[in-house]
Amino acid sequence: MNQPVSTPLVESLLEAPLAPSGIAWLDAARQENLAAFAASGLPDTHVEAWKYTALRMLGQRRFVALDMAAPASTVDAASLALPGVDGPRLVFVNGMFRAELSQVGNLPEGLTLQPLSQALAGDAEPLRFSLSRHYREPGDAFARINAARARDGVVLRVAAHVEITRPVHLVFIAAATEMDLAWHARNVIELGEGARLNLVEQHLASGEPTQLATLVSEIEVREGARLQLTVLQNAATSTHLIRHSGLRLQAQAQATLHVLELGGALVRHDLKVELIGDGAQLLTRGVFMPHGRQHIDTQLAIRHQALDTTSDSSWRGVANDRGRGVFRGAIMVAPGADGSDANLSNKNLLLSPSAEIDTKPELEIYADEVKAAHGATVGQLDERSLFYLRSRGIPLAEARALLTAAFCRAVLADLPNEALREHLSTLLVEQLPNT
């Protein structure tokens, strides 16, 4: 039905030849993914997953591959520190590992943390399963090009029954270059049985780079392991950032996600969580705040595939100026996944007449011993709450700011890292308009 349209973007991404890696299976997988990307092109808005995110404008842009661009500007390592995040740090600038900015000395026992480029130079075999993946969904174009082009990223493993106490910090910096750049990074993360890890993923900018960045993360949480993942996306408002995260939770595994989507021009995050083991538990909290002309699209898909799995998701959106927020929260309960308990809520505030929110909570239920509910709202601040504050002498603008801040902060309530929580909370408030 849809003939792939070859746009300048597709052409520019296909332009550079694939450099051989010296690993036969990897080169084959990269070639196949590249061919699949060439064949499919970009999804148009007839593809359900891209209904509210049109790639027409982006498709007209050209981005050069990393190795064709000039080296990036310098980055100050001190500016990377986050309160409450004092563990090992891996830093990538324009998708390439930068040792001088990273801290990977004295890793705790049981933690493997290295850039993908190094991991591939050593024994690549353990990565074979993750890196040989093919992305088959009609909307997976960017995952395909990432699979073909990503040269670097994070390889992180926690051995069974090891608890990593200090948070591990992953930093992706987009640094301004002379030409508009496209870069791709790929993360492979695995928590062994009963392992515990606190992980912080951060996206930020140095200068005002006009870039297209893709990031594919595969995260496996084995039996009884616990993952605490916090994502702070604070990219430049000229950077297009497209992320694809796959999370698999085995029996009794627990994952807690906090996602703050603050920056970026066109931002898209496909977050797929599979609860494949009995008793797996997922908690997600997120906030997206498009302002200016930002377009932030989150596609959360949770699949309950085993007995007694639970998921609880709460996402908030605040759209201002000409910003557009898109949210899809799909819960699927597979046949036989009895005892599943799924809850999802998405609340949104529209602050400007030119802003837009498109939300689509979905339930797809194939088992009967389940509890599943979702709710979504779009509106403004509660008039009565405003009245309450004003009647106590708080000016309207301040009352609004207070309530909006409280609305966003709610998603951070479950974040145990207090210092980090405070910092993120401040960032959220800074992002809010001074109404």
Partner: protein
């Protein structure tokens, strides 16, 4: 808890017993075939078919042109595939697009007795029974409207209620003004097909300030083999007019799938109110999923004037596949749109149904209450859109979708779309999915209520919010239909 487990295992043993299974098996009481002589067009669809239908109806030139335009548009369209239903490809050339009883009735008394008997079995209050029930009926038998009752009383009030073909002949200026103004000829694949080949349907016109003295009703029934039914209904309520319209549907049992692609257009001018209620009981196919009606319907209302109101109420228990989204375009300021739905699927039935509320006017309001019940191996989806355009200052929507699962092999899905472009608009959506709780069942069983009765009681309670919106005689029928449809679902 333990008693529950015992209960369900004993029900399983019961069901293994062939005699009991027969009793429990679902019966489709409307599945008889009326044997009367039919005339019609041979199967196939081309420009000639469209012209032939138009010629049989004695339509004016503009109508033929309108049909042809829709037909040519249809040829360029692919059949949509986004709904969550599985179906074999439809061969549009294998369908006969026109069938009518041979002897054309001149009045109700001349109507073929076999036909009237059909209606009698269905319990349609036609003829004298109509007077008792106080319902004016425009019964559509396959493609031709066989008789319209209560014409005189309605005419006194100034209400026009007749078949579509009659309306095209007698009130061409009204038809021409409104036909296709809500659902254009090329609106979607099935609407375009309908626009090209529609054979009949109902036409209602309520003039300014008139409150329709009685509830209007149409009974659709697909009878002949290999025929599709493509009726087209147009209801226009002028300024301040009120009307309540009832629609019921049945079809005989057949092994092949039959296509039903109808279009319903509602126009409400300033201060007008239209209430449209449907009980859809097309043949759903047997318990193995063989046969049944493909019910692909486009229903849309246009609240054109300020302070107008359109309310859709539907009870969907039939059809192998249901694919319909009665919508309201809230154009006038302070217009109100409502949608109440109960959709029940059993065995291999598939339903993808919901609504669209498009808010354009200021302070427009919409309310959606949808109850889905799935049993057997069926699939039941709610799909809805609430759209607040930039101009929809202070608009408000509230949506509630609940799904009830009966059995392990069915699916219940919810796909609500919300698009908001106005910061003063408020949209709320809530959905839940659950099964009949063990507590509820235990409570009923402990008080000596049989398992099936208990289920039907609980389901009835689950649907109450919607049944309350139905006209009284429909509410009774709907309740009965649910009971029949759920037979054999428990265990």
């Amino acid at each position: 808890m333990n008693s529950m487990i015992n209960e369900s295992s004993s029900a399983t043993t019961l069901r293994d017993n062939a005699d009991v299974a027969k009793v429990l098996g679902r019966t489709y009481s409307a599945g008889f075939i009326t044997d009367i002589e039919m005339t019609g067009l041979p199967p196939g669809l081309d420009e000639g078919t469209v012209r032939a239908i138009s010629a049989i109806k004695g339509e004016p030139e503009w109508m033929t042109e309108w049909r042809l335009q829709a037909f040519h548009h249809w040829l360029t369209m692919p059949q949509p595939d986004w709904a969550k239903v599985k179906l074999d490809p439809i061969d549009y050339q294998a369908i006969s697009y026109y069938a009518a009883p041979k002897a054309k009735p001149k009045s109700l008394d001349e109507v073929d007795p076999a036909l009237l008997e059909t209606y009698e079995k269905l319990g349609v209050p036609l003829h004298e029974r109509a007077a008792l029930a106080g319902v004016a009926v425009d019964a559509v038998f396959d493609s031709v409207s066989v008789g319209t009752t209560f014409r005189k009383q309605l005419a006194e009030a100034g209400v026009l209620f007749c078949s579509m073909s009659e309306a095209i002949r007698e009130y061409p200026e009204i038809v021409r003004k409104y036909l296709g103004s809500v659902v254009p000829g090329g609106d979607n694949f099935f609407a375009a097909l309908n626009s090209a080949v529609f054979s009949d349907g109902s036409f209602v016109f309520i003039p300014k300030g008139v409150r329709c003295p009685m509830e209007l009703s149409t009974y659709f029934r697909i009878n002949a083999q290999n025929t599709g039914q493509f009726e087209r209904t147009l209801i226009v309520a002028e300024e301040g007019a009120h009307v309540s319209y009832l629609e019921g549907c049945t079809a005989p049992k057949r092994d092949e799938n039959q296509l039903h692609a109808a279009v319903v257009e509602l126009v409400a001018l300033e201060g007008a109110q239209i209430k449209y209620s449907t009980v859809q009981n097309w043949y759903p196919g047997d318990e193995n999923g063989v046969g049944g009606i493909y019910n692909f319907v486009t229903k849309r209302g246009d609240c054109r004037g300020d302070d107008s109101k359109i309310c859709w109420t539907q009870v969907e228990t039939g059809s192998a596949i249901t694919w319909k989204y009665p919508s309201v375009v809230l154009r006038g300021d302070r217009a109100v749109g409502e949608f109440y739905s109960v959709a029940l699927t059993h065995h291999f039935q598939q339903a993808d149904t919901g609504t669209k509320m498009i808010h354009l006017g200021k302070h427009t309001k919409s309310k959606i209450v949808s109850k889905g019940i799935s049993a057997g191996r069926s699939s039941n989806s709610y799909r809805g859109l609430v759209k607040m355009e930039k101009s929809a200052e202070g608009a408000r929507n509230y949506t509630q979708c609940d799904s009830l699962l009966i059995g392990k092999k069915c699916g219940a899905h919810t796909f609500p779309y919300m698009e908001v472009k106005n910061p003063t608009a408020i949209v709320e959506h809530e959905a839940t999915t659950s099964k009949i709780s063990d507590d509820q069942m235990f409570y009923c069983r402990a008080r000596g209520i049989g398992e099936e009765d208990a289920v039907s009681m609980i389901v009835d309670g689950f649907c109450k919010q919607v049944f309350r919106e139905l006209p009284m005689e429909f509410a009774v029928e709907a309740k009965k239909l649910l009971e029949v449809s759920l037979e054999g679902a428990v265990g």
